[in-house]
């Protein structure tokens, strides 16, 4: 693993570095948290049309969404033969199908007769029968039946096999690629599986899945979740207990990672908060309330939080006593190009951002929580779609993060609006703290130039 070739020319926050913070841990810290990797990324500005222009969206469809590996669903959502998820990306639609035991295929969700979508929604099917005239395919994609077959002497069965997309799996996720000539998924993921060795996501179950359409470009939305620089402006209440501007950012191949420490004060604060104030800020305690949890004498807020998390995870994580404070307290947010955001350690969050149809001003944001479990695998949560006017607290299963998402979402539509109103030509990124976004755009530029 490449390690800290730290380019000394880069300015960093004067606050405590993440690597320094790791020295205070009460348990051994896994190597993955020590790994660092910088890359020279020339992109510091990108044109605003990238977020607003229909032409750019069309280019993304052709060169990105129809060419790149993308997360379609969880394997646990399609356990039985015939189970399928309808995965939609821009105007394309796929049936991601458990076609046989141990086999998953993805079919373009279009009848080869007159073009109706074969499946309207997720479900289980014994065969794929078009609701319009009844043309039917078997689960392996072979044309099985045409009503009034005598009328179609010109239809050769072997040429009417359902077109397929490529399928790959990792971490309990099913990935698809619409390009039949694409390289394998493993090439795309690169070293990512090594990062998740300590936290195998295939051994989690999807406990929460909430989806909502947002009035902004999909990149505007996901870029709001790729840095901690916005915390001071957007989530000021978190500052006493979050290492925002001293977060650590690294990039490897097609993925990047941010680490934001919790239970450490923001370097932006003028006065150092007490350990109790750090904990209260994370637990969102009101000034006129008793603390929900007290930092015991001789302990730090960080240790207190880790201790509480260990208790909560006892039932589901076997060796939780050996898990480091860092893995229980901090945020490790990965971005796998182009739109898949699994979090490391025990944060459990996974985000996915997609365009909604062909409108560059609309996107779909999804939040999943992947929870550890012991014993029998619990059933995965179905998608909970929020209405366009609902706020995130309409999904109480999100817990306290719903309110944090409300603060983020408060900005997003106004960002999109502002980008349309802009007289300047480019958005400008921070050199270090917006590393992940710059890395994404460098990959996007390379992808679109192919």
């Amino acid at each position: 693993m490449t390690s800290a070739a730290s380019t000394t020319a880069e300015a960093r926050s004067p606050g405590l570095s993440y690597q320094q913070l790791l020295e205070t841990d009460t348990r051994p810290v896994p190597d993955v948290l020590r790994w660092q990797a910088r890359a020279e990324i020339p992109v510091v500005q990108v044109p605003i049309e990238r977020y607003t222009a229909r032409a750019f969206h069309d280019l993304e469809v052709e060169k990105l969404w129809r060419k790149v590996w993308q997360m379609a669903c969880r394997e646990e959502e399609i356990p039985e033969v015939g189970d399928h998820v309808v995965y939609e990306i821009a105007d394309d639609s796929l049936i991601v199908m458990r076609s046989a035991p141990g086999e998953i295929r993805a079919y373009h969700n279009v009848c080869l007769h007159r073009g109706r979508m074969l499946r309207d929604c997720d479900g289980r099917a014994e065969e794929l029968r078009c609701p319009f005239h009844g043309w039917t395919w078997s689960l392996d994609g072979a044309l099985k039946r045409i009503p009034a077959q005598w009328d179609f002497p010109h239809v050769e069965r072997e040429r009417f096999h359902l077109p397929e997309a490529k399928v790959g799996t990792w971490g309990g996720f099913v990935f698809v690629n619409l390009d039949p000539a694409c390289a394998p998924l493993a090439d795309h993921l690169g070293e990512l599986p090594r990062h998740f060795e300590a936290w195998p996501l295939e051994q989690r179950y999807k406990e929460v899945h909430v989806a909502k359409r947002l009035p902004c470009n999909w990149k505007v939305a996901q870029e709001a979740f790729m840095e901690a620089y916005h915390v001071g402006g957007t989530h000021p209440q978190l500052l006493p207990g979050i290492g925002d501007v001293n977060s650590q950012y690294d990039v490897w191949g097609n993925f990047s990672r941010a680490i934001t420490a919790n239970m450490t004060p923001s370097p932006l604060l003028q006065a150092a908060p007490s350990e109790q104030e750090m904990l209260d800020s994370m637990l969102s305690r009101s000034l006129d309330e008793e603390p929900m949890l007290r930092v015991p004498e001789g302990m730090t807020a960080r240790q207190t939080l880790a201790m509480t998390s260990r208790l909560q995870l006892q039932a589901s994580v076997a060796s939780v006593n050996d898990v480091s404070d860092a893995e229980l307290a901090d945020s490790f947010y990965y971005t796998v190009f182009p739109n898949f955001h699994p979090w490391g350690a025990y944060n459990r969050i996974v985000y996915r951002f997609r365009p909604a149809g062909s409108d560059p001003d609309r996107c779909i944001m999804e939040v999943m929580y992947l929870a550890p479990f012991r014993g029998r695998r619990p059933k995965p949560a179905p998608v909970h779609w929020l209405g366009d006017d609902d706020d995130w607290t309409q999904a109480p299963e999100l817990g306290f993060l719903a309110r944090v998402f409300n603060q983020d979402t408060f900005n997003l539509g106004r960002v999109q609006r502002g980008l349309h109103a802009a007289r300047h030509s480019h958005v400008t990124f921070a050199r270090y703290q917006e590393t992940k976004i710059r890395h994404f755009h460098a990959l996007l530029e390379a992808q679109l130039a192919r």
Binding site: V208, R348, A371, L398, F410
Partner: protein, 355 residues
């Protein structure tokens, strides 16, 4: 909720009326809407993100119990109930973003409801609670002034309110109102038939109770049915009375007509179930509020008042809000499997065994 801004050091505090109060260290104070717009006060600019955080819906904050407004007039109500409102669930702990809250979502946000006779007492309490749950309202009553006051108050709770002054005993006027209401609100999910002809003696009372208590409910359902059947959460609640259930000391049209209403609700619950419309009844016992019947009885016939009070097993009369909570629950998608029920809300006033 009350927090100090980490940069400006100003105190942000949510207010009962849904605004957020911001006080700077220098003493300047401003009130702000949840989206950050200034409302009033000397301080005119504050951080919208912290306003949203402090004033935004708490987790579980949309459950009915947490959003009951302070009861107007409750302070002067003699047998003031000790608060029966359960504490809202504690917001989920930050350490575990997965922790589920125990809140029960009534599923009412964005729904549309008609409430008849909604300018006072139980009807107004129902309208207020529905508004707090985010339900758009169509209200009718006889007095235009009362309707206007109710409309102003309810619109301030952030919902659309359509009103029309009419006598619900007038079939054509009532049917017209229901049609216009569904049109104005863009659909209809809930219908609460709350109007009553009141107590009285003689044939005039029989006619009034038949026209208002019974026929207005029958007609309102008929007129609302085309809209209700297009809803995915259609529900009707009739307001009956414990007077229909036990002998009250005087034979009255009110009692018999309220009983008819329960029987008709049962018929409708069976007949409309295939169309996805639930029909239930709430039968309140003695409900005390300023300007209500029991206030009058207390002044004019203290012996009757005392006897009724003595009969309430809970030792007090009920409040309109306590009836409203039952009505709103039964009307809501949270009661999706309840139909044909008669929920008695009487603090133990009736003594029969309700099998």
């Amino acid at each position: 909720m009350k927090l100090r801004h980490p940069f400006s050091r100003a105190i942000y505090e949510s207010q009962e009326d849904g605004l957020v109060r911001v006080e700077e260290e220098g003493g300047r104070v401003g009130l702000f809407h949840l989206d950050g717009r200034w409302h009033s006060g000397e301080l005119r600019d504050a951080d919208p993100h912290l306003i949203g955080w402090v004033g935004g819906p708490q987790l579980g904050g949309r459950t009915a119990t947490n959003r009951i407004p302070a009861m107007p007039g409750a302070a002067t109500t003699p047998p003031r109930p000790t608060t029966t409102v359960p504490k809202p669930p504690t917001p989920a702990a930050g350490a575990d973003p997965n922790r589920r809250t125990t809140s029960m979502d009534l599923g009412l946000r964005g729904r549309k409801a008609i409430v008849t006779a909604a300018t006072r007492g139980i009807g107004l309490a129902i309208a207020r609670l529905l508004a707090d749950e985010g339900v758009d309202l169509a209200l009718c009553a006889r007095g235009a002034a009362g309707l206007e006051a109710a409309r102003k108050e309810l619109e301030a709770r952030g919902v659309r309110v359509f009103t029309k002054a009419l006598d619900v005993g007038d079939g054509d006027a009532l049917r017209g109102f229901v049609r216009e209401a569904a049109e104005a609100l863009g659909g209809l999910d809930l219908l609460v038939c709350n109007a009553s002809g009141g107590a009285g003696m003689g044939e005039k009372a029989w006619q009034a109770n038949f026209d208002v208590d019974v026929l207005h409910s029958v007609r309102a359902v008929e007129a609302a049915l085309p809209s209700l059947t297009s809803s995915d959460a259609a529900s009707v609640v009739f307001i009956s009375s414990t007077a229909a259930l036990e002998y009250l000391g005087v034979p009255q049209a009110y009692n018999a007509m309220k009983a008819a209403l329960i029987a008709h609700a049962n018929d409708l619950s069976q007949a409309l179930a295939p169309k996805g419309v639930r029909v239930n009844v709430v039968s309140p016992g003695p409900i005390y509020f300023d300007g209500g019947n029991w206030e009058m009885i207390k002044k004019a016939m203290p012996a009757i008042y005392e006897r009724a009070l003595g009969q309430c097993a809970l030792g007090r009369m009920g409040t309109p809000e306590e009836v409203a909570r039952s009505v709103v629950f039964l009307a809501s998608p949270a009661a999706s499997y309840v139909t044909g029920a008669n929920l008695v809300v009487d603090g133990g006033f009736t003594k029969r065994v309700a099998y």
